[in-house]
């Protein structure tokens, strides 16, 4: 199911790249005005942020990447014109245990359901397992994020934990899932040895 790729940061239509401090803040600011996006991406309360605030966040983020050494942050861009469409993150890396959490988001609604998430996750998993040499990765997903659940299952992620009633949205409680994928499971899927 996964293509063999020589470039870690390139897929058919996408490219993972660093932050563009000049152009990206404006675009990410727009995403924060879309509460559907923020609720899919984050459990923090939705709130619109200015480009200036996003710019500061980027600076803080790059400082954190440098100091903590347990975080990798990528911008997802289209290969054809370099347009920013989302973010992909490997975070909370525990080097001694070989585990980490993944986060992925496609910013605008018109860029969703086009297979970009699949391509981005493909690159992110290859980076986590083949470059960082991690043993396993996890992802936290709210019950209501059905697209994320479907995407993770496509890659062989297993739902390992269901934290019952861990979130509150729109006046009701929702479960929060932890999905996990082991390097062996990824490799078997990668080389087409495992049944899917």
């Amino acid at each position: 199911m996964l293509d063999i790729q020589t470039q870690l940061f390139e897929s058919q239509d996408l490219r993972l790249g660093p932050i563009d401090h000049e152009k990206d803040p404006e675009i990410e600011s727009k995403w924060t005005h879309d509460s559907e996006f923020t609720r899919l991406m984050d459990t923090d309360p939705a709130r619109p942020l200015s480009a200036a605030v996003i710019k500061k966040q980027y600076e803080k983020l790059e400082k954190k990447v440098e100091e903590d050494k347990n975080l990798f942050h990528f911008m997802i861009r289209t290969r054809v014109d370099g347009r920013l469409i989302g973010k992909a993150v490997v975070q909370w890396i525990e080097w001694t245990n070989g585990n980490a959490f993944l986060r992925l988001g496609i910013g605008s609604a018109e860029d969703r359901q086009k297979g970009y998430g699949t391509q981005a996750l493909q690159m992110l998993l290859r980076f986590a397992f083949a470059e960082l040499n991690l043993f396993r990765v996890s992802a936290l997903v709210p019950e209501y994020n059905e697209a994320a659940v479907a995407l993770l299952r496509k890659f062989g992620f297993v739902q390992e934990v269901c934290r019952r009633s861990a979130l509150e949205r729109d006046g009701r409680r929702w479960d929060l899932y932890t999905f996990g994928l082991l390097r062996d499971e990824w490799q078997n899927g990668h080389t087409g040895q495992a049944e899917r």
Binding site: T96, N97, S165, A166, G180
Partner: protein
């Protein structure tokens, strides 16, 4: 109204940097204790450094997301452990971390008593909806204690921890406010 800080064997009280640092430095020497508590690498810090952390924490003042307690026995007034809460105020969930550093107080119901006080504080005082915790599969003593307190096992993250060259699972448990309230009725309280 119930005394929130007083159980049957222990009481929850304030953190004293000097006392806490002295004990923590000793407890850090006990690598079994550390491995039951955390999957980060065991480490040894100076008493001075630990005291500074405690003091820094105290200087930050009241934060509604963070609660830390010392645990003392009722009988001897001995400082035996700690209990910390990390609260998500938006989704009204708390995570608890607790430990008994003094080994002679293991397996005697002190941990269960601490957890009951913790639940009481989380649901009666902080009015939260959910209390969560994590533990390692090689800690069956903790698992039994948490089950006794009404926690349900909600899953396990497979092989996420490496100990002595072996891959082990972390277990995740939770209890909801309504579940806890029902248990209280059952106890006739």
């Amino acid at each position: 109204m119930k005394d929130l800080f007083r159980g049957e064997l222990v009481r929850l009280t304030l953190v004293e940097p000097e006392v806490g640092a002295k004990a923590s430095a000793l407890w850090q020497r006990d690598s079994e204790f550390h491995r039951l508590l955390d999957n980060s690498p065991a480490r040894l810090d100076s008493e001075k450094k630990i005291k500074e952390w405690f003091e820094k924490d105290a200087e930050k003042g009241f934060k509604p997301e963070r609660y830390g307690f010392s645990v003392r026995t009722l009988a001897e007034d001995k400082y035996i452990g700690f209990l910390g809460l990390w609260v998500d105020l938006i989704h009204r969930e708390a995570w608890v971390g607790l430990g008994i550093g003094e080994r002679e107080f293991w397996s005697k119901g002190y941990g269960t008593d601490m957890m009951k006080l913790c639940q009481q504080y989380v649901f009666r005082e902080l009015s939260l909806e959910r209390l969560s915790l994590g533990l390692f599969e090689y800690n069956p003593r903790a698992l039994r204690s948490y089950e006794k307190c009404g926690f349900r096992l909600e899953g396990r993250t497979r092989m996420d921890t490496m100990r002595e060259g072996n891959r082990v699972d972390s277990l995740w448990m939770g209890i909801l406010r309504e579940e806890w309230l029902q248990l209280q009725e059952g106890d006739g309280k």
